[in-house]
């Protein structure tokens, strides 16, 4: 009934698709961390209007389907004269989405730090920048690691949606091959397995980093 041997000749194509899935996802995570940082600063800053803007941003990207966001970036941007290649548009959409989540993760990480640690830093003469670099960031990164691992796994899975905007990543490749070979079950099953493999590795990497950074 199922003939998985039909997949074997197409494995290289699937692996190329997987590579572009990883490229899109990991770029979005990295860029999302940078933008998320800015959002975290806005959310915790002194300016009320900036806090409001950042809160609206987070609500929007947390509260609407990623597919809607993708299509908006893909079709609305060209309508106002900005045309991006599909791959760039996909990375942009995923980055904007991930930044909202990472901004929140960072914010909770910063707020978990006891105020006293910062008072001690100030009392001993550390500048605000030194306090940020040597006291806050190392601890925030450590405490956000589990949530960041989850977010990376989410983005890898959600990146399947960018197949809807003609990026030839793993999902899109599987769809194309499934329809040309009439073997949808086999190709989607293998695609699923590849996603699982990558997310499992991500999870293991996250746990390993956590255990390395753990102190008593």
């Amino acid at each position: 009934m199922f003939d998985f041997t039909a997949v074997i000749p197409h494995l290289p194509q699937l692996l190329v698709g997987l590579a572009s899935t990883l490229l899109v996802s990991l770029s979005a995570i990295a860029l999302g961390l940078v933008l998320g940082w800015a959002i975290c600063l806005g959310l915790t800053g002194h300016r009320a209007w900036l806090r409001r803007v950042c809160a609206v941003y987070v609500s929007f990207f947390r509260g609407t389907p990623l597919l809607v966001q993708l299509i908006l970036v893909f079709y609305a941007l060209p309508a106002v004269g900005i045309s991006l290649p599909p791959l760039a548009a996909a990375v942009l959409a995923l980055t904007l989405n991930s930044a909202a989540f990472q901004g929140e993760i960072l914010r909770s990480g910063f707020q978990m730090l006891p105020k006293g640690q910062l008072e001690a830093a100030r009392d001993l003469g550390l500048s605000p920048l030194q306090t940020l670099l040597h006291v806050q960031i190392p601890q925030v990164l450590r405490s956000m690691l589990p949530a960041l691992t989850n977010e990376t796994i989410d983005i890898i899975k959600n990146s399947a949606l960018v197949s809807a905007v003609a990026v030839h990543e793993l999902m899109r490749t599987a769809q194309t091959l499934a329809s040309t070979t009439y073997r949808p079950i086999e190709f989607f099953a293998v695609a699923g397995l590849l996603y699982l493999l990558v997310t499992l590795c991500t999870g293991r990497l996250g746990s390993w980093l956590e255990s390395r950074l753990r102190t008593a």
């Binding site: 006293g116 001690a120 100030r122 009392d123 001993l124 003469g125 550390l126 040597h134 190392p138 008593a216």
Partner: protein
């Protein structure tokens, strides 16, 4: 040039919104003097201490450390204005605080906790910073725990590390904000011993504490705060044996009763 006073506090006020916490405090502390600040909870004693190193921004009056005004300057017209953060930090290099909650940085080893400020603030080379940090850890009896993380230590040990961290910055004045209040009773002694040694070594100390016995033994002067004012101050012998104000009599009576009930238990 030596100043007559290490700390001068003139008509100090602190408001939190409508809440008036400090209502005009005047207090002088001479170099080498050990002053204990006692009082009930909410009397403003911690706030007073925190105004000295500007962790609280006072809203009226003056605080001078070694003759230098803390936190504010005055313009040509005599209007006070808030000094830049960096200037405030520089004016407080002679003051270090030890906190109730120790406030060590949990992601750094003990040795790094002590050496980091030296390297970052004073630009001391790594090897020398470690050497000086180790020396201060030995001084408080914590040299053997240099490689541990704060979370692996008891409260008393953490507080001694925090004291070493402050000492490494070579302040002439140390502020202690209820240094033993977060400790299990059996760990209080080891911290008090370290503070007593500092007092004997001639450091200027201001100590907010509930340890009356310790305050009586180690202080040159005891200050009793009630509702944001200094109700009474003097040598510990007079203050504890012949309290003048009703409030202090009441405070000492309730403290003695609590000690008594502990002794019975």
């Amino acid at each position: 040039m030596s100043q007559p006073y290490a700390i001068e506090i003139r008509n100090l006020h602190k408001h939190y919104g409508a809440h008036h916490v400090l209502k005009g405090i005047d207090l002088d502390i001479r170099p080498g003097e050990v002053v204990s600040i006692i009082g009930g909870s909410g009397s403003g004693k911690s706030t007073l201490l925190r105004c000295v190193n500007f962790l609280e921004e006072y809203t009226g009056g003056e605080v001078l450390v070694n003759g230098r005004m803390i936190g504010y300057g005055s313009s040509v017209t005599g209007e006070p204005y808030r000094l830049p953060e960096q200037t405030i930090r520089e004016s407080l290099t002679d003051v270090c605080m030890v906190f109730q909650q120790f406030n060590l940085w949990p992601h750094m080893r003990v040795l790094d906790n002590v050496a980091a400020p030296l390297r970052l603030v004073k630009g001391v080379r790594k090897a020398e910073a470690y050497e000086r940090a180790q020396a201060q850890l030995e001084r408080v009896g914590m040299g053997h725990k240099a490689a541990s993380y704060p979370g692996q230590l008891s409260g008393g040990q953490q507080q001694r590390v925090a004291i070493a961290r402050a000492l490494t910055m070579q302040p002439s004045i140390m502020l202690f904000d209820e240094p033993t209040s977060a400790l299990d009773p059996e760990l209080v002694g080891e911290v008090l011993n370290v503070i007593r040694d500092l007092a004997h070594a001639g450091m200027t100390l201001a100590i907010v504490t509930h340890e009356m016995g310790f305050a009586a033994r180690v202080s040159d002067k005891v200050v009793f705060l009630a509702e944001g004012r200094i109700e009474e101050q003097g040598a510990p012998r007079e203050l504890f044996n012949t309290p003048q104000s009703a409030r202090l009599q009441q405070f000492l009576t309730s403290w003695n009763e609590r000690q008594g009930s502990l002794a019975m238990a």
